[in-house]
């Protein structure tokens, strides 16, 4: 499975039963100068569509919503130490790894092509 995107500009990618969650390139471009990520603790349960983290730029705070539900198994220490990595490559830098509660939740999300069209309309 490739990347799946939400209308709130998060992505999820599922590999071998583990889901990686991040923010999209569109999101990082709009935030610009990302200087802080506030991530949940390992073990926290996420619910699809609910806020689980925040990403902050110099002047703004942006909530991050869970694309799918599940339990956090790892958080990105790399981003905690260098949040600007999100500006460099948003799709390579996941915020959290989770064990999905129900992989089928990702079916409702947009694939890369649909998301590209969605972003064009958002402009």
């Amino acid at each position: 499975m490739g990347f799946k995107f939400t209308k709130n500009h998060e992505w999820v990618k599922i590999e071998e039963g583990t889901a990686y969650i991040g923010i999209s390139d569109y999101a990082q471009q709009h935030l610009s100068d990302i200087v802080f990520v506030d991530l949940p603790k390992v073990g926290v349960k996420l619910t699809a569509g609910k806020v689980f983290a925040s990403v902050e730029s110099v002047k703004a705070v942006s909530d991050v919503y869970a694309p799918i539900g599940g339990t956090v198994i790892e958080i990105s220490e790399a981003l905690e130490n260098a949040p600007e990595l999100l500006n460099e490559n948003a799709l390579e830098n996941w915020l959290v790894k989770i064990e999905p509660a129900d992989i089928a939740e990702a079916d409702a999300l947009m694939d890369e092509d649909a998301y590209t069209v969605f972003c064009q309309h958002a402009e």
């Binding site: 610009s32 100068d33 200087v35 802080f36 506030d38 925040s54 902050e56 730029s57 110099v58 002047k59 705070v61 905690e80």
Partner: protein, 366 residues
């Protein structure tokens, strides 16, 4: 419909991200707030501040009338000099903060906040009508473009465009000089904590001046700067922003601006309260904090000490210069001691911070 400055097209051509700022369509950033902030601190930045309000007060009793409305000592002012001051209210709160350019004792050029211009003008008209109908108050905001050039290279860059020796314009003074063959008013003032100038011109001159400055500053690293970095620059230098550090409910004394409140011969509105606050102190005052634990303090976040609410953040941000979360906070006075630890309530979590000295950033003036 948002108002646009004479430089609107220049911002679009430069690919700026535009936002609504107090009814004005203004550039928030051109490239990145951090890059623009650093360019201003290290080299120079160019700002469109045409949205600022310009009000002229003139008439034979201008000196007496203005003296009743601002917490300034107008006798200490002289032609070509500028004072930073406040339109005060009976309760000691502030209608707006402003720059007073003294043209003569019968004419003052007042520069006020963009989003307060209409309010200030209406308030001034009313007060002046009561005090002396002979004095004229005219809102010239639409008749001025305003460009600021700020940073260590600002003088060298502007000097390329004028024969006038800019070193003669001292801090907080102004002169009418010829720049690019046009007569403009230039003051050594700004809102960044850096050396620099603010240039007042006709709207029709603004575009040419903007391009000439960008070109003259190209080799010095001059960059156009949006409102995002304008805010982080003023914030690090602890320069107040109306609606944040100052308001109808926050006096200049509480905001730590005692130095700028002058008790001259005039009995201005709220003088008794401000004098009492100077003599007796205030129950709350402005302080700086720096995060100890991870987090970015933002405007409006509450501050707690031992579980008690002790104040709130008036302006907070990630500081591009110091690479950490800093904030100005209005705190109960007894809490304000350097290194005292407090909790910032960030999304229902308490995050440790400590009190530090203001301003966060200070540059030695020429």
């Amino acid at each position: 419909m948002l108002k646009r400055t004479p430089l609107y097209e220049c911002h679009i051509d430069l690919g700026a991200k535009m936002v609504d700022f107090g009814g004005w369509e203004m550039p928030i950033q051109y490239t990145s707030i951090i890059e623009e902030h650093q360019a201003t601190r290290e080299k120079a930045g160019l700002f469109d501040v045409s949205h600022m309000g310009e009000i002229i007060m003139k008439g034979s009793s201008s000196r007496a009338v203005l003296g009743k409305l601002v917490a300034a000592d107008l006798d200490a002012l002289a032609p070509q000099k500028i004072a930073y001051s406040f339109f005060t209210m009976e309760n000691g709160g502030v209608v707006d903060d402003l720059l007073i350019y003294m043209v003569s004792d019968t004419e003052y050029f007042l520069v006020v906040n963009a989003s307060n211009t209409d309010k200030d003008f209406a308030w001034l008209k009313e007060k002046v009508a009561e005090l002396s109908p002979e004095v004229e108050v005219i809102n010239y905001s639409d008749d001025y473009g305003q460009i600021a050039i700020q940073g260590p290279c600002a003088q060298d860059i502007l000097q390329k465009l004028t024969k006038f020796d800019l070193s003669l314009i001292k801090f907080f003074t102004f002169a009418t000089i010829t720049v690019c063959e046009e007569d403009v008013l230039v003051s050594r003032t700004g809102y960044t904590g850096e050396d620099g100038f603010e240039i007042y011109c006709k709207p029709s001159q603004a575009t040419e001046l903007w391009h000439a400055l960008l070109k003259a500053g190209e080799s010095d690293g001059l960059a156009p700067i949006g409102l995002g970095a304008r805010d982080t620059l003023r914030f690090e230098s602890a320069l107040p922003l109306y609606g944040h550090e100052l308001s109808a409910d926050i006096t200049p004394i509480e905001a730590g601006l005692k130095f700028f409140v002058k008790f001259g011969v005039d009995d201005f509105l709220g003088r008794d309260i401000l004098e009492r606050q100077v003599a007796q102190g205030t129950t709350r005052k402005l302080a700086g904090i720096e995060m100890i634990e991870r987090g970015i303090p933002r405007d409006g976040y509450r501050i707690e000490k031992d579980g008690q609410d002790v104040g709130y953040i008036t302006s907070g941000a990630f500081s591009p210069t110091f690479k950490k979360g800093l904030a100005m906070v209005l705190l109960q006075t007894d809490i304000v001691q350097i290194d005292n630890e407090v909790d910032v309530v960030i999304r229902d979590k308490k995050v440790k911070a400590k009190i530090v000295k203001l301003p966060f950033y200070k540059k030695v003036r020429k």
